[in-house]
Symmetry: C2
Subunit: 387 residues, 2 copies
């Protein structure tokens, strides 16, 4: 049977995540993977889960297993509101912060509308914007007269201001103010994607974009890096009038976020376990970042540069122009090491001499052999090009 005629006009715009495609085919435990955006399994409160579940059952009873409010259970909305200093009416729980991105896309984007975004940009966001057939314009291309290059109606700016995925970079206060200025000049909304904000190893927190421009910012949060991604829970903080339409959309998407998981997250948060866990996660990740930085220093061939993230999960390598990380990928995988080619994160597929490395997921004992393998693959390719 030929199914082609049934598909909607959006379907040809669905990008498949190269990261998820890699994971479909490769047994992660058999290789050294710097590819996924995975938190370290050691940070999961695995041992505490049965007692958290028992507390939820004891405290909330059958309410925890029933359908819940579309906006999320009131207790969790209030707890998040209290943590971030906003009224609970400005908090909506989402079934993952990826859903937060998707629902913003659905509520704000028509085909041909434009998003001004980080460039390189988080792949899941790029997938979502493209799936609505929106134009994605690099925010860093937007200075001065380049604004003219936008074809469609720009609706919002999308940024990850802290420990960016994929680059690991953090926007300074001045840069954030420039984003807000741009949004106000062009009268745009801002989607501030903040899944890593609480995972800072050094330096001081910078004022969030939401705090600079609460009237036009939707700030996305996530439990994936401060609790566990196996519970698909995130939240949106933003103006009530915007959340109200997102609420209406979310009814169609899944009626409500997982109720039991929301109470688990609430219990984890309210018992203080979340903050205690963060106190263990942060030094672990700092250590892994430092380890990766020192290994890059030790093994990488000349001409390779990388970012020094102050938090989060990723760093970003820029290699000599001669290297094509897309073309090299199969060789690296065959050698036993995985990364994500940087060009996947660019709206135009450029920058084929870059790559994203994750340093949180891989076992520490595999990190040195992994970076060594990667350096060997890169060095060979460089030598080959020079011949």
């Amino acid at each position: 049977m030929d199914y082609g005629k049934f598909f909607s006009a959006d379907v040809p715009s669905f990008l498949r995540s190269p990261v998820r495609e890699i994971f479909r085919k490769v047994d992660l435990s058999a290789i050294c993977s710097f590819a996924g955006g995975y938190p370290a399994a050691e940070t999961f409160p695995l041992a505490e889960i049965p007692s958290l579940a028992a507390s939820v059952v004891a405290k909330y009873g059958s309410k925890a297993l029933q359908y819940g409010a579309t906006q999320g259970v009131p207790e969790l909305r209030e707890a998040i509101a209290a943590r971030y200093g906003v009224p609970a009416s400005q908090v909506l729980i989402t079934t993952s912060s990826q859903q937060g991105i998707d629902v913003c896309s659905r509520v704000f984007l028509d085909p041909g509308d434009a998003v001004l975004a980080d460039n390189p940009v988080y792949l899941g966001a790029l997938q979502s914007f493209r799936a609505y057939r929106a134009e994605v314009v690099g925010l860093n291309d937007m200075e001065g007269t380049v604004v003219d290059q936008v074809q469609g109606t720009p609706k919002f700016i999308y940024v990850i201001p802290e420990f960016n995925n994929p680059t690991g970079k953090t926007l300074t206060l001045e840069e954030r103010k420039a984003v807000v200025r741009k949004a106000r000049e062009m009268d745009l909304l801002i989607v501030e994607d903040s899944p890593y904000r609480e995972i800072r190893y050094e330096g001081s927190p910078v004022t969030s974009i939401r705090e600079l421009a609460p009237e036009r910012t939707l700030q996305l949060g996530s439990f994936s890096k401060i609790f566990a991604p196996g519970f698909r829970l995130g939240w949106i903080i933003g103006p009530e009038e915007l959340l109200d339409q997102i609420y209406a959309c979310k009814q169609c998407l899944d009626l409500c976020p997982p109720v039991f998981d929301q109470y688990l997250a609430l219990e984890f948060l309210q018992s203080g376990a979340l903050d205690r866990n963060l106190q263990k996660t942060i030094p672990l990740y700092r250590h892994r970042r430092d380890l990766m930085l020192s290994l890059l220093e030790k093994y990488m061939p000349e001409g390779v540069r990388w970012t020094h993230p102050e938090g989060g999960l990723f760093l970003w390598l820029t290699l000599p122009e001669a290297i094509d990380t897309v073309a090299l990928y199969d060789k690296a995988l065959a050698a036993g090491v995985a990364y994500v080619a940087g060009s996947f994160f660019y709206t135009d597929g450029s920058h084929r001499n870059t790559m994203r490395l994750n340093y949180t997921f891989v076992e520490e004992s595999k990190m040195e052999p992994g970076i060594k393998l990667l350096a060997t693959v890169l060095t060979k390719s460089l030598n080959h090009k020079r011949l």
Copy 2:
């Protein structure tokens, strides 16, 4: 700030569920609610949850808290495949069966496309189709030449063949064959929504539409009525080529379904607890249906008719033409009883003399006072009209 200009062209088509709006405003425990489509809390395996959680932690470890495959964890896909006699490659886990409906809408519907659906039709499906600006045509209006009335390109037929929401009716084998014939004639897909199939109290199971037309049917299943709706888990069984595009779409929606909840459901299923629980749920629901049927018999004024569901959660009242259940709703609520006006389920908002009653959620002790209250409200309205 005026946000109107930011919204996409779909936003004005978002219907807000009157059911969910009721629940936003009313304390359910203070009234007798026949409105929600809620399972009985007594059927939830509440006491078993902590030990299920402990088993998941012991068996699957940190894998249960990490990101998972977009299609769902392989073990659960295999368990569902085995239960329903299909290959695991034809099973995709969804974050609720509402998401199943939404993702089918997204993958198949463009604005102006048509869905041929039950009429009255499940409200969450109507919301989703309308949110994509699709035309929704009553399937029961589709006999003979009335096909000409469809304006847009029909893409699929949507039906709940068992214990329909809202009517409680079940399609006979002949009626199912007629649906399949229609789909083949018009070359359409079929979305067979089957959340209640396993909740049958009497009569024999009827061959599913998927079994009659596997090449063109996407069958949606749900854990909400056989486990608990607080875990947002459903599945789609269908042709691999269709699931492959749904998979690509689902990456954008939420990356993957809740992993921990999937393992809980798997443990519940594989331990035999799910089937044991069903053996308790079915007689409980049969009893409540019988109780409601006898109370309707006892209290309803002349000229009121209702369905006799063989399973599921709902029955459907047809009242004398003079009664307007939308207009009466506030009076009923003030008297302490809630229902859903039947016209909300009609594509054209007609049939204002109908209503949906749920008999599974309300405490049994409240059922007689509730039906008595409802009968009084209806009788008063009838007498008033006759004056």
